[in-house]
C-alpha cells in the first residue's frame, strides 16, 4: 500500500533522510518510532506530497507521490504534528468544512468517525481553540477521516496528550485498522510501539530496524538485567566498569544493564557489585522492551559511525 524506496531528503547541508526504504501492507498499523529530529515528519510530508524528496521514489496505493500528487491527496487523510485546525471555528464547523473540501458530508461517512466524534459531539458548538489537548486530537482525527481515506498518516498524534486520552486514541486506531484503513503513525513514545503491527525504528534519518514489535523484543541479541539499588547514580558509575559491558541506562526507578550474551549471570553481577562495596542490590534477568532495542541499536549505530 505504501512503498518507499531509497528516499533521501536534504535541507541544504543537513541530511534529514538517508536512503529510507520501507513497505507497508494494506490494512497495516505501522509505527514510525524515533526521537525528535529523527526525520519522521520529513518522511510523512514527502508521503503526503507536501515535500519533494531529494532522491528516491515513494508510492501510495501505486500512485507516485511526486507525479500523481493530486490523486495521492484524495486517498489520504493527514494529521500534522501540531494542532492544525481553525481555533476560531467551532468543532462542528471545522468538521463540516473539511468534509465539504473533500467533496463529502458529515452524514455520508458518519459511521467512520462515530466512535471518535461522539466523544466530542457534546461540545460541538465550542470553538476548537478552547478544547483540551485530547479533544483537539480527536477532532483532528475526525477531520482527517471524514473523507474516508484509504491511508491515514498521523504525525505524533499523542504528543502532549494525557495518558488516558492516549490509550483511547490507540484503541480508536485499532478500530480504524479493522475497518481496512492503512495507518502510518509516528511517535516518540517507545511504549506505544507495541500497539503497532509493525514498527520501524528511525534515528538521524536512517531506519535502523523494521519488524513486528514482538520479533524485535524477542530477538534482543544481548543479555539484559534490571538492577534495583538505593543509590542509582553510584551503582551506575560502578557498573560502567563491569567486564563485557555494552550499556547501562536508568530505566524508571531502576537500571537496565546490557552485557554481551552469555558472559554474566545475576550472581556474577551481584558479586561484582558487592566487591565494589554496593550492598542491598537486586539483579534480575529482564526481557527487552522496544526502548532497550532502540538504545542498543542506536549505540551500535554510533559505534560504526
Amino acid at each position: 500500500m505504501i512503498e518507499v524506496q531509497n528516499i533521501r531528503k536534504q535541507y541544504g547541508d543537513v541530511v534529514a533522510l538517508e536512503n529510507v526504504s520501507l513497505s507497508i501492507q494494506r490494512g497495516e498499523l505501522f509505527g514510525l518510532i524515533g526521537p525528535d529530529g529523527a526525520g519522521k515528519t520529513s518522511l510523512m510530508r514527502i508521503l503526503m506530497s507536501l515535500l519533494l524528496p531529494t532522491g528516491g521514489t515513494a508510492a501510495m496505493n501505486n500512485l507516485d507521490v511526486v507525479k500523481d500528487y493530486k490523486k495521492v491527496r484524495l486517498i489520504t487523510g493527514y494529521m500534522p504534528g501540531r494542532f492544525s485546525l481553525y481555533p476560531d471555528l467551532t468543532v462542528e464547523e471545522n468538521l463540516k468544512f473539511f468534509a465539504t473540501v473533500f467533496g463529502t458530508t458529515i452524514e455520508e461517512n458518519y459511521y467512520l468517525i462515530k466512535d471518535i466524534y461522539q466523544q466530542i459531539e457534546p461540545f460541538k458548538t465550542r470553538r476548537a481553540g478552547q478544547l483540551s489537548g485530547g479533544m483537539k486530537q480527536k477532532l483532528a482525527l475526525s477531520c482527517a477521516l471524514i473523507h474516508k481515506p484509504e491511508i491515514l498518516i498521523l504525525d505524533e498524534p499523542t504528543t502532549g496528550v494525557d495518558a488516558v486520552s492516549r490509550k483511547e486514541f490507540w484503541e480508536m486506531l485499532k478500530r480504524l485498522k479493522n475497518m481496512g484503513i492503512t495507518i502510518l503513525v509516528s511517535t516518540p513514545y517507545m511504549d506505544e510501539a507495541t500497539l503497532c503491527d509493525r514498527i520501524a525504528l528511525i534515528q538521524e534519518g536512517k531506519i535502523m530496524s523494521i519488524a513486528t514489535p514482538e520479533t524485535m523484543m524477542h530477538s534482543f541479541p544481548e543479555d539484559l538485567w534490571t538492577i534495583s539499588s538505593r543509590k542509582i547514580y553510584n551503582t551506575s558509575k560502578i557498573l560502567e566498569l563491569i567486564p563485557s559491558l555494552i550499556s547501562v541506562n536508568s530505566f524508571g526507578q531502576a537500571l537496565h544493564l546490557v552485557t554481551t550474551k552469555g558472559q554474566h549471570t545475576s550472581k556474577s553481577i551481584q558479586g561484582f557489585l558487592t566487591q565494589h562495596g554496593e550492598h542491598d542490590i537486586t539483579v534480575e534477568s529482564e526481557k527487552a522492551t522496544i526502548e532497550d532495542v532502540f538504545i542498543l541499536l542506536m549505540q551500535k549505530h554510533n559505534q560504526t559511525a
Binding site: R45, M48, S49, L50, L51, L52, Y69, K70, R73, L74, T76, Y78, P80, R82, F83, S84, L85, Y86, P87, D88, L89, E93, K96, F97, F98, T100, V101, F102, G103, C143
Partner: protein, 368 residues
C-alpha cells in the same frame, strides 16, 4: 463550487469572529474619513476678509454689506496697495481678499458684466475652497435680487485665485486619495495577513494536503476581502458625497470600474506579499512600511507629486495609488472620461498582471 462556497463561509466566519479584523475593516476607514473630514472642513462663520474697493460705488458697497450681514464674513482690513496682501495672509489677519474693479457698478449696469477678483489663502485648502464658494454664492444671490426686475440679468465674473497653493482642487481633495489608501489597507494588507495566518497556524499544511486547488485557496481567501473592499469604497463615496459634498462629476460607472480595477491590483499585491512572508508579523511589516507609508506620503494623497523632489517623484511612479488617485480626481472632480484616464488605467492593468504573474510563479503547492 460547493468547496469554494464552504471556503468562503469559513473566511467570513474568521472575519466576523475576530474583533481586530473587524476594527481594521470598518473602524479605520470610518475613523480616517471623519478625521480627514473634520480636520479639513471648518465651519464658515465670521471669517475675516479684506475688501479692496477700487470702485466705491453703490453696488460695490451694497455687496460688501451683504457679505458682512450674511454672518459668514467680517471685514478686518482695507488695504490700499497690493504689496500689503501677502503680509495680511502671512500674519493670518484675513483668509480672503475681495477686490472690486474700478467702475464696478457702471460696467454691471451698462455692459451687463463686471469682474470681482478673490484671493484666498489656500494653505488651508478646504477652508479656502469653502470661503470662495460662500463668497460666490452670496455674490450671485446679490445680483439676482438686485436685478430681479431686469429682462436680462447681468453676470458678475468671479476670478478666484488660491494663494500659496494654486492648484489645490486636484491635489488636495481628500476623498479620492482616501479611497486609494483604504483599499490598499483592506485589500492588500488584510489579504497578505489572512494568507500568512494559515501558514503560521499550520492549517495551510492541511489545505495543501487536501484536494483544494491553489487557485481555489487563493480565491477563497481573497473574495471576502474583495466584497468588503467594494462595500467600503461605496461607503466612502457616499459619505464623501453626502457629508463632505465631494462631487462625482464624471461617469459613475467608469469610476466604479476603476475602483474595481484598483481593488484587483491591491489584492494581487496582497497575495504577492503573502508568498514572501512566512508569518503575520512580517506580512504586517511589509504591508505597513512598503505599502501604507508610500501610499499615504508619495502617492499625491497629501503632498502633490509635482512638488516632490525629483528622486521621490521618480519613486512615486512605482506606487500604484499614485496612478489611481489621479484617475479618481480626474473622474470625480474634473469630469474626465476614459479619454483622459486610459494611460493610468493601462499602468494599473500592467501592474496587476505583473503582480499576479509573480504570485503564481511563487505560490507553492508544497511546503517548501
Amino acid at each position: 463550487m460547493k468547496r469554494f462556497l464552504a471556503f468562503l463561509r469559513k473566511e467570513f466566519l474568521h472575519i466576523f469572529r475576530d474583533p481586530r479584523t473587524l476594527v481594521i475593516l470598518f473602524g479605520i476607514p470610518i475613523a480616517q474619513l471623519l478625521l480627514f473630514g473634520f480636520v479639513l472642513t471648518n465651519e464658515v462663520r465670521n471669517v475675516k476678509i479684506a475688501v479692496v474697493d477700487h470702485s466705491r460705488d453703490y453696488l460695490s458697497i451694497r455687496l460688501t454689506q451683504q457679505l458682512v450681514s450674511s454672518g459668514f464674513f467680517q471685514v478686518a482690513a482695507t488695504p490700499t496697495s497690493e504689496s500689503e496682501y501677502e503680509g495680511l495672509f502671512r500674519s493670518g489677519k484675513v483668509k480672503e481678499i475681495v477686490i472690486f474693479e474700478p467702475n464696478f457698478a457702471s460696467r454691471l449696469v451698462n455692459e451687463n458684466k463686471a469682474d470681482i477678483q478673490l484671493i484666498a489663502d489656500a494653505s488651508e485648502p478646504n477652508t479656502a475652497q469653502l470661503v470662495v464658494n460662500y463668497t460666490t454664492a452670496i455674490t450671485n444671490n446679490f445680483v439676482k435680487t438686485e436685478f430681479r426686475k431686469e429682462q436680462k440679468q447681468p453676470g458678475i465674473n468671479i476670478k478666484a485665485r488660491m494663494l500659496f497653493n494654486e492648484d489645490m482642487l486636484d491635489s488636495y481633495n481628500f476623498i479620492p486619495g482616501l479611497i486609494a489608501v483604504i483599499l490598499m489597507l483592506i485589500s492588500a494588507m488584510m489579504t497578505a495577513i489572512t494568507i500568512t495566518r494559515e501558514k503560521e497556524s499550520g492549517t495551510m499544511e492541511i489545505l495543501l494536503a487536501s484536494p483544494l486547488k491553489p487557485i481555489q485557496i487563493i480565491l477563497g481567501k481573497v473574495t471576502p476581502y474583495m466584497i468588503l473592499s467594494i462595500v467600503n469604497a461605496l461607503v466612502v463615496l457616499l459619505i464623501g458625497y453626502f457629508v463632505f459634498n465631494v462631487p462625482i462629476i464624471g461617469s459613475l460607472a467608469l469610476l466604479l470600474a476603476e475602483i474595481l480595477l484598483f481593488i484587483f491590483l491591491a489584492l494581487s499585491l496582497g497575495i504577492l506579499i503573502s508568498t514572501f512572508a512566512t508569518n503575520q508579523v512580517t506580512a504586517l511589516a511589509i504591508s505597513g512600511f512598503v505599502l501604507m507609508l508610500p501610499s499615504i506620503l508619495l502617492s499625491g494623497f497629501i503632498f502633490p507629486v509635482k512638488n516632490m523632489p525629483a528622486p521621490l517623484e521618480f519613486i512615486s511612479n512605482f506606487i500604484p495609488p499614485r496612478w489611481f488617485i489621479e484617475i479618481n480626481r480626474t473622474v470625480m472632480l474634473k469630469g474626465g472620461g476614459l479619454a483622459e484616464v486610459w494611460p493610468n488605467t493601462l499602468i494599473l492593468l500592467g501592474m496587476s498582471a505583473l503582480f499576479i504573474a509573480i504570485s503564481i510563479r511563487k505560490f507553492k503547492i508544497r511546503l517548501q
